[in-house]
Structures are given as C-alpha cells and as structure tokens.
C-alpha cells in the first residue's frame, strides 16, 4: 500500500536537519536507507508527516581511520562494509557481520546508523557494536555528545538518543593482531531477523574481553562473568554454565530462548578460540 502522504527534505547541514526535527511534535522522522522505516511506512504503521533524509549530511557517508579508532559515518551502507571499504578494527569481523544482514538488495540501501537507531532487539549491529565497545557520536541542539554502546539501547526500539538528535559517527576502537572474535546467529531462514545472537571479542593486548547476547527482546545482554571465565581459562564454558548465567540475568527469557542463546554462544566462542 502507499504510505500516508509525507513531505521530505534532504538537508546538507546538521543545523538544518536539527531545525527540521524541532519543527513539530513527533510528526517528523529521520530516514536513512529506509529499509526499516520503509516497511512500516508501506504498512502505515508509521505515518510521519515529514521525513528528513540524513544521507546528504556532511560526513555521514564517510569512512575515516586514526591510529586508535575506525570511524564509520552513520549513513554508510551494510554493503559497503561487507565489501571491505571499512578498514578492519579487528580482522574480518565487520565484513562477516555485514554480510549476514538481510539480503544484498537490502544491504545496498540499509545503513549501520539506521540500524543502530532503529534499535530492533534482533538486529545485528547493536550486538556486534556492543561487543566491539563502540562509541556513538550524536549531534543534538546543544552540540555533539558521545554515547557508549553499552548504554545506548534501552529496550526494543528505544535508545538513549533524544528526539532531536542525529547519529553522525560510529567510532570503533582498534584491536591488536592477537585479538579473537566470534559471532554466531541462529535464524530460521537466511536473512531473517535472528532468534538468537552471540558475539565474543577478546584481545590479550588491551586485556579486553566481552561476551554479548542479542535478540533477547530488549537491549543486548553483556556478561562480564562469562567474559572473565573465558579470558582467564581460554576454554569454552559448558552450555549449562551459560544457561545458568542467562537464567540469572534478570531478563525474563523462555527456556527455548535460553537454549538458542547458549548454543549461539558456544559456536561463537568455539570459532573464536580455535587455532585452525
């Protein structure tokens, strides 16, 4: 079906984008690749009167690197990441995650920033970026601020961003060449949103280790307990241990979900720790 009528603007300055967002009460939405908003517009579940296209804003389609970080503009598409345009902050992980999102035709338009802001619990980047300890740079009325991924997603479709803020950059710390990662998602069909996601990143050089579970119904769940156990032993924790951690997580997870998450975790960590 046709979406409800909307007007659209494509500002080329952040000030203009912000002015458009402040213009009216919730009738305005940002649009990036439109691959999450589009289905909602077509179903008329979302009926914004105004859309503000972020793709022409300065820097949003840029990829930059410094000695310590890789910075990805919010409007960089999944396909560009899949194709290796982004320098690796950790060998191969970004390309792997990008290539598992939806289908190539969706990845050609969908963007990393749109995905993070949409905050779907089953989306890939929210979990992967939490595991990588990324920081999001957002621009609001009072200037730029940084939000660490660990506190960014508040729940399904809810983030720590204010209504008039625009995500501009995703900043990912670089890992050493000894770093290991694993990422595994369980889906019923290729390209569908995941039933369970597990991500693992460990770097002896910076003594960092993160274990993150995604598709838990809300924000990704970070387990410092499992991270410590794996870092100090170098062994994959038994599935029952992982299940116990998930059961005690305070998240109200079903037995099926706990099983799926624990299996995804085993596969991700086994892959990461294998020397083959």
């Amino acid at each position: 079906m046709k979406p409800s009528p909307f007007e659209i603007s494509r500002p080329v300055t952040l000030d203009a984008a912000q002015a458009a967002l402040r213009g009216d009460d919730h009738g305005t939405k940002l649009i990036s690749g439109g691959q999450s908003l589009g289905p909602m517009l077509n179903l008329r579940l979302a009926r914004p009167a105004h859309l503000v296209d972020v793709t022409a804003l300065p820097g949003l389609a840029d990829i930059r690197e410094t000695d310590s970080h890789v910075e990805i503009g919010a409007a960089v598409t999944h396909a560009r990441i899949e194709d290796g345009e982004v320098p690796d902050p950790i060998a191969g992980m970004l390309r792997h995650v990008a290539s598992g999102i939806a289908y190539r035709a969706v990845r050609n338009r969908g963007t990393i920033g749109g995905s993070l802001c949409h905050a779907d619990p089953a989306a890939d980047w929210v979990t992967a970026m939490t595991a990588l300890g990324a920081v999001l740079v957002v621009r609001g009325g009072t200037g730029a601020r940084e939000i660490p991924m660990a506190g960014f997603m508040l729940g399904a479709y809810r983030t720590a961003m204010a209504e008039d803020e625009v995500l501009t950059t995703i900043r990912i710390p670089r890992y050493s060449d000894q770093a290991r990662w694993g990422y595994y998602k369980i889906c019923r069909k290729v390209g569908e949103f995941a039933d369970a996601i597990a991500a693992f990143v460990a770097d002896p050089a910076s003594r960092t280790c993160r274990v993150v579970f995604g598709s838990t119904g809300g924000a990704p769940f970070v387990s410092a307990e499992l991270a410590r156990q794996i870092a100090t032993t170098g062994a994959v924790p038994p599935v029952e241990t992982v299940k116990a951690v998930l059961r005690d997580s305070g998240l109200n997870l079903s037995d099926v979900k706990i099983h799926q998450l624990a299996i995804a975790h085993s596969r991700a960590v086994t892959e990461a720790l294998s020397d083959a």
Partner: protein
C-alpha cells in the same frame, strides 16, 4: 508537494513528477508503464520488486522517489545489449527456472548480481545469496542450475584463498574489569501463543498496601490515567468507551473502542475486556486483561498478577515478532506500575503516560505483533 525527478531507465532519460511517498516500483509501473517489475509483500522480504539501481540490486518497494533523482535504473524490460543478462535469460528458459513468472524479474536482477560478484560459487552459496527472492512455483532447482551454469561460463577455476588466520594459541589473560552494565529488572512471567491469541502473564510489585492498590484498580476512572496513552471517554458501572494511543519506535497507532469490566472485591481480582480499531492504520484489536492484587513481601506492599490476552488483525499483525511485543508490554507495565505508585502516593501519573500503551485499558493494544 510533488517533486520532479530525472532518471535514466533502461537507457532512456525520463522525467516524472510524483508525490514524495511514491515508491520506485510505482514510478516504474504507474508512471513509466514498465509493469514487469512486480510488487508483492512491500516489506522488503520477497524480492519480487528487485531492480538494478546504479548497478546494484535494490528493493523498489522500499525505495522512495527522493532517492531516485539522477539514478540509473534497469528493469526486466531493459538490460539491452547486456551479455550477462542474455546468458541468464537463455539459461533460465533452458533450466525451466520459471513457471508463473511472478518472481522472475526480481530473480533475474538478483541472479545478475550474484554472477557479477562471484567468480566461483557452489550450490550452497547460490542458494544463500538467493534467499531474499521467494518463488512459489519452481522449487528453486532450475533457478540455481541456471545461475551455476552462467557462473561456470565465466571460466574461473578456484575461489580466492580464505584470509590466513592467526595460528598462535590463545593465551589466557586477566581481563580489566569494565563497569558491569546495570542488570535489567524485567517483571517475571511468561508469554505464549494460544490459537490466534497472544497471552502475556506478568507479575510486578507495587509499593502500597493491597487494599489501597485494589481501590485504585477497581475504579476505571482512577486507573485509566495510569495507563500510558489511554483516555476514557465515557464510563458507567460496567462499560466504557475510550482510546489508547501507542507509540513504539516509529510506529503510531490510536485504537478507539469500547469494553466492559467487572471486579470481585472479595478476591481483589477483576477483568477488563475491550476491542477497538485503528482507523488510519487499518488494524483491529480485541483483548482481555485479568488482574489480581495480593500482599507482597510485607503487608505494606503488593504484588499485581496480570494476564493480558489479545488478538490483532490487520496491518499490525503483519509484524509477526512476539519478542517485540514482550519488550513493549514490559516497558508499558513498568510505566504503569510507576504511575500507580505515584497516584497512590498522592501525586499524578507522570508524563510518560503519553508514550505508548497498552491498551484499552491496557490491554488491548499492543497486540500487534501477535502470531
């Protein structure tokens, strides 16, 4: 306000003037009479509408007019003089890779992209890459066969080597502690699907004694303002009319409707039933909310047990993702519980009450994503 776009379609320059909400698929089908591009799901899932835009496949159902200004588009009617597409068309017909043909325009766009990106691809890779194009007729065997043949004709003999891995064994280390993320405190309960109904059971604490909580729960005029997004229009001893407004991410819906309620003071339990519809969004919801108030961990506090069952029809129901419902219900319940506590302490329901909601009387609502 209509916008004028200039684009190159199948090698010809075109100018169309369309409202901003126009999908690329409609630009092609309704304004340029190129009806070979098919629309089915309009949610990006089925792939029928896939066309080439600036050399890459895109979903024309979720690509809107503004993104197409200046674009170079190739549809099934085009690809003239493109040797890869000629080979694919020939191979599709020899392999019986189409029956009704509905999926074929999208299949060929994706097939062309696979052939371009892969010099070598086994069957598993092709099927993986093809997973975003659904075919109800062929069973895919002929489609996969046709694509394999065209890739094989490229003559590459081996795939590029996989990147080398670090083979040093993992050396255990003592991680530096990062501050633990705050533990979420989700209310306890369960979610199940019974026939077309989604049933969410939850239990949560309120920091007032059961009697005063019950006085609040049994009085719809007092409890309704605690429900985020709900407004009561009329109310008598057993029925009400009202509305509930839902905001969930980009989703907005306003369900207007009617319902009934009854309370059992002795058991401190009651039921609210309601149904309503969201006219603009063309969704309907029916639901019942059962609630019971018991003493909590001390006589000064209470525990509310609630069971929400709902069924949703229409557009919202197409979002078939039960875990989103759960997250949403829990968010609303947390606000509701905070509002109840505020009202019982003599204050008012907070500003969050506009946010979302459960529905009619909570209930209702949310349903959406039921299965």
């Amino acid at each position: 306000m209509p916008e004028t776009l200039t684009l190159t379609v199948n090698g010809e320059d075109c100018t169309v003037t369309v409202p901003p909400r126009t999908q690329l698929a409609e630009v092609l089908r309704d304004h340029l009479d190129l009806t070979g591009t098919h629309l089915a799901c309009e949610q990006g899932v089925c792939g029928a509408c896939t066309v080439m835009m600036n050399g890459r496949p895109v979903r024309s159902c979720i690509t809107y007019a503004h993104a197409c200004d200046g674009a170079v588009i190739e549809t099934i009617e085009g690809h003239r003089g493109d040797p890869v597409m000629d080979q694919l068309r020939d191979a599709f017909s020899r392999h019986h890779a189409l029956q009704c043909g509905f999926c074929t325009p999208g299949m060929l766009a994706t097939a062309r992209d696979i052939v371009t990106r892969f010099d070598v691809a086994d069957e598993a890779t092709i099927r993986h890459e093809l997973s975003g194009n659904l075919c109800r007729c062929t069973g895919y065997v002929g489609i996969v066969g046709a694509i394999s043949e065209v890739i094989a004709a490229k003559g590459a003999t081996s795939a590029p080597p996989a990147p080398a891995r670090d083979t040093k064994p993992f050396a255990p280390f003592e991680p530096v502690e990062t501050a633990a993320a705050p533990t979420p405190t989700a209310p306890q309960g369960s979610v199940s699907i019974e026939g077309g109904w989604t049933v969410v059971k939850r239990s949560f604490a309120l920091s007032h004694a059961p009697d005063s909580v019950w006085q609040l729960f049994r009085d719809p005029a007092r409890v309704a303002p605690c429900i985020p997004g709900a407004t009561v229009e009329s109310l008598d001893a057993e029925s009400f009319t009202g509305a509930v407004e839902i905001r969930f991410g980009p989703i907005r819906a306003r369900f207007g409707g009617r319902g009934s309620y009854d309370n059992d003071d002795a058991a401190r339990a009651g039921t609210i039933r309601g149904e309503g519809d969201d006219k603009q969004g063309k969704s309907k919801v029916r639901g019942a909310l059962r609630y019971a108030i018991a003493e909590g961990t001390t006589p000064q506090v209470s525990r509310a047990e609630v069971e929400l069952r709902f069924e949703i029809d229409g557009m919202l129901a197409q979002f078939n993702r039960p875990e989103l419902v759960t997250g949403f219900v829990d968010y609303i319940l947390a606000q509701f519980a905070a509002n109840c506590d505020a009202v019982l302490s003599g204050g008012e329901a907070g500003p969050a009450r506009r946010l979302s909601v459960l529905g009619m009387l909570w209930s209702v609502l949310k349903a959406r994503f039921s299965r």
